[in-house]
């Protein structure tokens, strides 16, 4: 059972990511704060007796459900369903070399030093904007898998889909981000 301090520490560690994840989905800071608060309360009321190790997965699921509830309440279900079911192909653009692009971006980031502070902030803003532009399912899979550091099975559980779908979404998200960042000039 998680103690008050453990629960508080967990929420402190998760709250900013939760807020950003939700903001990407609903595009509204106030709504995102309400949803995160709602998710925190649901976690505290119903799952505070669970072991600490289970809380990230449970909280991820609650947050996703709370976000969906918000969409339902806002009566934009149609838009949400369209966004949440976008299994669109990422486009088999044969002339885009993902490996070369990733290698280039990798080299670019590795070479950044403290002197590149302004450039760094611009890069972070660019990343933020491009993540926000990802299709919802791709973004959810990417953030849960790499930002929340859930494994593929846990990500699938939170998203309510198969492990294979998670891998596909993640791969497409990486592809789209690499392409977009390269196009915006994040090059060696």
């Amino acid at each position: 059972m998680a103690t008050d301090k453990e629960l508080s520490d967990f929420l402190r560690s998760a709250e900013k990511r939760a807020f950003k994840r939700t903001t990407y989905a609903v595009r509204d800071d106030d709504a995102a704060l309400d949803i995160v608060q709602d998710a925190m309360i649901r976690l505290a009321e119903n799952y505070a007796d669970r072991p600490m190790a289970e809380l990230p997965l449970i909280f991820g699921r609650i947050l996703s459900n709370a976000t969906m509830d918000w969409f339902r309440r806002q009566k934009v279900r149609r838009a949400a369903v369209l966004n949440f079911s976008d299994l669109e192909a990422a486009g088999e653009d044969g002339d885009f070399d993902l490996l070369a692009t990733l290698e280039a971006i990798d080299g670019s980031w590795a070479s950044q030093g403290p002197a590149d502070r302004l450039s760094r902030e611009q890069t972070l803003a660019l990343i933020d904007a491009e993540v926000a532009e990802l299709p919802t399912r791709q973004r959810e899979a990417f953030l849960l898998r790499y930002w929340e550091e859930l494994d593929t099975a846990e990500t699938a559980q939170v998203m309510g889909c198969s492990v294979g779908s998670v891998k596909t979404h993640c791969s497409r998200a990486v592809h789209a981000l690499a392409k977009a960042l390269a196009a915006k000039g994040l090059k060696p």
Binding site: E15, L33, E45, L124, L143
Partner: protein, 146 residues
């Protein structure tokens, strides 16, 4: 997928994972600098959630204690509480058995009473002449008096 791409696949997977983690690290870095008011609202939300969890935890043992006290409330009835409790639990069963015995007894009494009434009516009634033609009745008449 051509053979060259297949050969480079492990590199690609590793690079994809490293790229994704760097993007995630960038997101963490950026979200660490959220506006003050948002940070404050998140802090308030967190504190409310922790307070709610505390209330829930406190409420559960209190409810359990209340239930326990209620179940032990019969202890005050006498010197031997377990005996009283057992008696109280057996009492409805005893009443049920007694009731069944009583019903059975009344039913038997009613049957006896009905049979007696039929016998009395037969004995009190006039003997029909046809009875003397009945071999069984004649045999009955020839029996010695007890």
């Amino acid at each position: 997928m051509n053979p060259m791409t297949r050969a480079r696949r492990p590199d690609l997977d590793a690079l994809q994972a490293r790229f994704a983690r760097r993007v995630a690290a960038g997101l963490s870095e950026r979200s660490g600098a959220l506006p003050h008011d948002i940070g404050e609202r998140l802090r308030v939300a967190r504190e409310q959630a922790v307070a709610r969890a505390r209330q829930t935890r406190l409420a559960q043992p209190a409810a359990a204690r209340q239930l326990s006290v209620q179940s032990q409330g019969h202890l005050a009835l006498g010197e031997s509480p377990s005996l009283w409790q057992r008696f109280a639990s057996v009492l409805p069963l005893m009443l049920l058995v007694l009731g069944l015995v009583l019903i059975q007894h009344l039913h038997e009494q009613a049957e006896i009473h009905a049979a007696a009434e039929v016998d009395a009516a037969l004995l009190a009634d006039d003997l029909p002449p046809e009875a003397y033609g009945d071999p069984g009745f004649v045999a009955f008449l020839k029996q010695p008096e007890p």
